[in-house]
């Protein structure tokens, strides 16, 4: 029996199957490309070939697209990514005190004491230093993103880059290139700048104590990893499944919930991969609130609504489910 964790993020949609001992038996990393429902279906199509619906005992959803994914797959639990990440880290490293997490569009810091989250922060206004920014720079320098970190490690004299804002960082990088600086030194400087930005922006005022875990897609970048270690003057651990930690957390939470409530899963099955999903949004004119309502249709049947404050639309679905 396995638990399935689905993390629908802005850049990637991750899926993991976790066995009873908490070991990851299968993981998939799919690009979301702005179409979360298709990404989930693509993942399910892959899982369907190897596993059977009956092998799944619980399903958890997390990430920015968690609400829609939960409706699509029939999740037992829908959790925010901060809690999911914390749960996954604590289960892989019980004495963790600080989690640095940098994903595709957001970065967070989670402070843990005695195995309990005591504080957290997310980036507010700026996306500098997150995965999509690095992606774009790698593309611009014509370096595969996987090798980006290696280039940074080769830097001898990292150039100082303005990392306050993604737009300024980019123009500063272009400027340094035009002056003829070595590409490795520029990339090294960029990693330093992003870490500086993270520490003074997201992690501002937070007490960073070891053991520190660094996770999220950007943790694969060895340049950033080294820059963090230099800036914080302490060793930083990167968990083996750093890119899918959110999904692992969702899977663990789903299993806990199913066990606690002692019931069977709401999982709809891997056949969801062949259903026709459609979502459309409209403005409800029922009152002056003018809510922006999104409806999700599966095979031309409405399966879920979001965004209605008065729950007029949401209740339509739950009423039907009762009949």
């Amino acid at each position: 029996m396995y638990t399935l964790g689905v993390d629908v993020g802005s850049v990637s949609t991750n899926m993991v199957l976790v066995d009873y001992s908490g070991r990851v038996v299968e993981k998939h990393y799919i690009r979301t490309k702005g179409r979360p429902m298709e990404a989930v279906q693509a993942g399910f199509a892959m899982l369907r070939e190897k596993y059977h619906d009956r092998q799944i005992m619980a399903v958890g959803a997390t990430g920015s697209g968690r609400a829609i994914a939960a409706i699509q797959i029939g999740a037992d639990i829908v959790k925010n990514e901060i809690t999911a990440h914390a749960v996954a880290s604590i289960s892989t490293m019980p004495d963790v005190k600080t989690i640095l997490e940098i994903g595709g569009q957001d970065s967070k810091i989670i402070i843990i004491r005695n195995g309990v989250v005591t504080d957290f922060a997310m980036n507010t206004v700026c996306a500098a230093g997150t995965g999509s920014f690095l992606d774009r720079q790698a593309e611009r320098l014509d370096i595969p993103i996987e090798e980006f970190g290696e280039f940074a490690l080769k830097a001898t004299v990292p150039v100082r880059i303005a990392g306050r804002c993604a737009v300024f960082a980019e123009s500063d990088m272009i400027h340094k290139q035009q002056l003829g600086y070595n590409t490795c030194d520029i990339i090294g400087g960029l990693c330093d700048a992003l870490v500086r930005n993270y520490l003074s922006n997201v992690a501002k005022g937070k007490e960073i104590l070891p053991a520190v875990i660094f996770q999220g897609g950007v943790a694969a970048n060895r340049g950033i990893h080294r820059a963090f270690e230099t800036a914080l003057q302490m060793p930083i651990t990167i968990p083996q499944h750093h890119e899918v930690m959110g999904a692992i957390g969702a899977a663990i939470l789903a299993r806990e919930k199913i066990q606690q409530e002692d019931r069977t899963t709401k999982f709809k099955g891997f056949s969801v991969s062949t259903s026709a999903f459609q979502s459309k949004s409209f403005i409800c004119n029922g009152c002056t609130n003018q809510c922006e309502v999104v409806s999700v249709m599966e095979n031309q049947k409405a399966v879920g609504f979001f965004g209605d404050r008065c729950e007029k639309w949401r209740n339509k679905v739950s009423a039907r489910a009762l009949n």
Partner: protein, 365 residues
């Protein structure tokens, strides 16, 4: 004269009772919504605080329905709110609207004479007797206190209710019923009835829900549209919330300020961290955080609009209160660019944090 007002939480209901009782011609603009924000942002300075923009949106909606006079309160500083009206008058004038502003500033700034004179400018249009006018004022104040009490009960009882969602349903029902009632006496009686009903909602006293104190800038904590209906969201999660700042508190505070008798408890609580006035309600925010810790709340959420100077100061002080009093505090900054997804994620993660701190694993979403 056709009079209109900007929105602030439930104030419109009390104002409607006042105008109905005075027999004045009035327009209550539609509740704050995307349209108000759209028009407000379009005609306001980009860097001004969120309440300003929404108020402009309200005026424009009011003008669209024929209003020619705006009634609002002011404070003559020391934060930007105190001078809102000056800039708002200019903006509306530049847009070519001929509109009159009646600003009720505190006695301390303009003197009792001037305040009464300004109030008379509204009252002069009413054909009722002087006695009735006074009575109307009292009725409106009574309505406001009742509304605040009803809200307070509903927000607190949401954590204890036996039937999930009952508090929220009753609260919404109450607003609609009272607003659609055009007889001020009947409306007051309805409010009284609803207060009694809400006090009788079946609860499970043995439940121990998460309790959160809502603190911060007065407009954004009271006006649900600006804080993305945070109190409703928390009610849905079965969390009890309490909030000190209400419209009736504001009126009381303004009146008592002249005698320096206002909110003594709050100010005393804030003494240790912020012993002087720095404008807005920064001292109150600090005092509320300290009181929340002393009253055994699980956490506090501070909300303020982007660029609110007094609250930025209190934001810088809150971490030390959080450390010393062992009270988790989440700060949320709102403006027209606020993304709902990130906002909800923070609230959810914060409530998870509070649950898990209590020492048991919280699942359920």
């Amino acid at each position: 004269m056709k009079i209109t007002i900007p929105h602030l939480g439930n104030v419109y209901i009390a104002v409607k009772i006042l105008f109905d009782s005075l027999g004045l011609d009035y327009v209550i603009p539609p509740l704050n919504n995307r349209e108000a924000l759209l028009w407000g942002s379009k005609y306001s300075p980009e860097e001004i605080c969120l309440p300003f923009k929404l108020m402009i949106g309200n005026y424009l909606a009011g003008i669209h329905e024929g209003a020619d006079t705006v009634l609002l309160v002011g404070s003559c500083g020391p934060c930007r709110f105190g001078e809102y009206c000056e800039l708002q008058m200019k903006i509306l004038q530049q847009l070519g609207h001929k509109i009159d502003f009646i600003v009720l500033d505190p006695v301390k700034s303009i003197g009792l004479c001037e305040l009464l004179h300004r109030m008379h400018r509204v009252g002069a249009y009413s054909k009722k007797t002087r006695m009735r006018k006074l009575q109307s004022l009292f009725m409106a104040y009574k309505a406001m206190t009742l509304l605040d009490d009803i809200e307070k009960e509903a927000h607190w009882r949401a954590g204890f209710e036996k039937k999930p969602g009952e508090c929220k349903r009753l609260l919404n029902q109450c607003r609609n019923a009272v607003y659609s009632c055009n007889d001020p006496e009947k409306a007051l009686a309805l409010l009284q009835e609803y207060l009694e009903t809400i006090q009788k909602i079946p609860v499970s006293p043995e439940r121990n829900p998460i309790k959160i104190s809502i603190i911060g800038e007065i407009y954004t904590v009271i006006e649900p549209f600006t804080n993305l209906y945070i109190e409703d969201v928390l009610m849905d999660m079965g969390i009890s919330t309490s909030r000190h700042l209400t419209p009736s508190w504001w009126v009381k505070d303004m009146l008592l300020k002249t005698m320096r008798l206002n909110s003594r408890e709050l100010l005393k609580a804030s003494d240790e961290y912020l012993p002087l006035y720095i404008g807005g309600h920064a001292r109150e925010c600090i005092g509320e955080a300290v009181l929340a810790a002393e009253e055994g709340m699980d956490g506090a959420i501070q909300i303020f609009p982007m660029g609110c100077m007094p609250e930025i100061v209190s934001k810088a002080i809150l971490p030390s209160i959080s450390r010393q009093k062992n009270l988790p505090i989440l700060t949320l900054v709102v403006d027209e660019m606020t993304g709902e997804a990130g906002y909800m994620t923070r609230i959810e993660a914060f409530t998870d944090l509070l649950e898990r701190r209590r020492g048991h694993v919280y699942i359920g979403s």
